[in-house]
Amino acid sequence: MLKMLLSRLATAVPSLIGVVIVTFMLTRLLPGDPAAYFAGLAASPQAIAEIRTKLGLDKSLPEQFVAYIGDLLHGNLGSSLSTGQPVMSEIATRLPASGELTLAALILAVGIAIPLGVLAAVKQGTWIDHLCRIVTTAGVSLPVFFTGLLFAYLFYYVLQIAPAPTGRLDVFLSPPDHITGFYLIDSALTGNMETFWGALRQLALPAISMAIFSLAPLARMTRGSMLSVLGSDFIRTARASGLAPRTVVFTYAFRNAVLPVITTLGMVFSFLLGANVLVETVFAWPGIGLYAVNALITSDYAPVQGFVLTMALLYVALNLAIDCLYGLVDPRVRLDS
């Protein structure tokens, strides 16, 4: 099994290299003078020249690349123009917020999509099958930022059951002691139930908006995979052996059907990490997405670059985890290597 994990790790290496090269190129492909970008819109020619030497932008491209790698290994992602703070620390502070949101959305999406897909496949032609089809078709058409706004309007303004879309916590509550940075986990661990519920209420709408978006591909894949498995030879054998329907559907069919769904998770994460940016903007959620969007508006370049790199590295790591999970679950992969 160790060999399988190591071989998975090996396939992640080219992706890592690609990511680093592309993010490097993105900073050098700027139309005009990169130094001017990093110096900011209001910089004087002298300030630009200073930045150029300071960031090593006057050196040859290969030398710059080596310096870039060195910077990355030291965790140096430059500094933000507007706040003056190192990008690395700002991203580190904001990462748990994005993480909590994405994780909550994922759990919600998986928790709804998989049962929906399974039921739609098992009870073909019934209302639940039609519901699944509607969810799948409509879900991919909904712009996530629009759904978020719609929810905010409906549940906050009209129905007044949701809190104002202004971040992770109501102004009257203070954040729990920092253990993981995830407000729900931290407040639960420290027994601070008022904060827990407050954080949950703020998390609900953004997480649901994101979940709806990723529900569609998961439900579709689950339904398709389940249908395909239910028509296979070994299910016929299971039925011919008179196994109980529940055994046939769950122990035999579902476990096989879930394998391609795990592979779909990679694509789902690509959606989620992108949707993150939009949802954070709508709900003023203080994660790295909002950080990048604000930096974009003020033409503050280093944070945007740091954001893209962080997201990409996160994505590579997630894909690696999915690959390993698949390798562990499918004995044909686990034992063959």
């Binding site: 080219p14 992706s15 690609g18 990511v19 090269i21 592309v22 993010t23 993105l26 900073t27 492909l29 700027l30 139309p31 078709t137 409509a138 991919v140 058409s141 909904l142 712009p143 996530v144 930022f145 629009f146 706004l149 719609l150 905010a152 309007y153 906050y156 303004y157 104002a164 879309p165 579709r220 398709g224 994460f269 690509s270 959606f271 989620l272 990490l273 992108g274 949707a275 940016v277 939009l278 903007t281 709508v282 990048a292 969007v293 974009l296 508006i297 370049y301 945007v304 670059q305 954001f307 893209v308 997201m311 990409a312 994505y315 590579v316 894909n319």
Partner: protein, 281 residues
């Protein structure tokens, strides 16, 4: 051609929803081409006195914070949104189909390079990569097109590669080779035209995604700038007024967006059923 049309009619009769999609598509096409002519008001004309008015007989979709008629703006925005999406899909197709066909047909180094390129793009969350590209190339509409095309490139390359691979040893390709055509001619003149139907399906299916992508980028301030009328940027402007209850500013452009994406998704499904029903899920 006739058998194809007959098959198309069969599919449409089986699946009326596809017919609906074609109808919607026609509407969007009309809005896109004739929008500026059909708009009742000048989409850029501000009128402070009429600001923030809800939908009424005079202004079907209400007015925004500058008193502009939202219906006119939504109508006119159709052209911009659809052209951006269409341009990026065509660009992605050109780059992707050519490299994909070359990779599938020639194999070897071409295959490896194209594969590596596609894998590197796919190593990023796609929307994030698009953000990075637009930030790097500059905040212009053309760069939205380029960024969207780049993130759609791997999909086209992969489909084209698979199709070219299958056709590489097909009879008609052998025949083309044997009649003395150079490799380039075979690829461009024979393989590429033959995979066009499947690529059309792909293009239609990704149009919806391209529209969402472009709107998402403009929502966060990239690409289209005020006072241009574009659905994403209109939703962004309307977002500021949701909390005070002026829902119409964001709703109508958002609904138009949804409808357009929905229409193209259904269209793509319908086209796929007509051209290659085996792919149905």
């Amino acid at each position: 051609m006739i058998p194809l049309l007959r098959h198309a009619r069969y599919v449409l009769s089986e699946n009326p929803v596809t017919g609906l999609a074609f109808g919607l598509f026609a509407l969007f096409l009309i809005a896109g081409v004739f929008g500026p002519v059909l708009a009742p008001y000048n989409p850029l004309q501000s009128n402070a006195a009429m600001a923030l008015k809800p939908p009424s007989a005079a202004h079907w979709f209400g007015t925004d914070q500058l008193g502009r008629d939202i219906f006119s703006r939504v109508l006119v925005a159709t052209r911009l949104d659809l052209s951006i999406a269409f341009a990026s899909v065509v660009l992605a197709f050109m780059l992707g189909a050519l490299s994909g066909v070359a990779a599938g047909y020639f194999g070897g180094w071409t295959d490896r390079v194209v594969g590596r390129l596609a894998d590197t793009i796919m190593a990023f969350p796609l929307f994030v990569l698009a953000m990075g590209i637009v930030a790097a190339l500059g905040n212009e509409v053309i760069n939205i097109v380029i960024a969207t095309a780049i993130i759609n490139f791997p999909l086209y390359a992969r489909v084209a590669r698979a199709e070219a691979n299958v056709r590489r040893d097909a009879g008609f390709i052998e025949a083309a080779r044997l009649s003395g055509n150079g490799e380039a001619r075979v690829v461009l003149g024979h393989v590429l035209p033959n995979i066009m139907p499947i690529m059309m399906v792909q293009m239609s299916l990704t149009m919806g995604y391209a529209i969402l992508n472009a709107a998402g980028l403009s929502f966060i301030g990239l690409g289209v700038r005020p006072p241009d009328a574009e659905w994403g940027i209109m939703v962004a402007e309307g977002a500021n007024f949701i909390q005070s209850g002026e829902w119409w500013i964001a709703l109508f452009p958002g609904a138009a967006l949804m409808l357009a994406v929905f229409c193209f998704n259904l269209l793509g499904d319908g086209l796929r059923d007509i051209i290659d029903p085996r792919q149905r899920t």
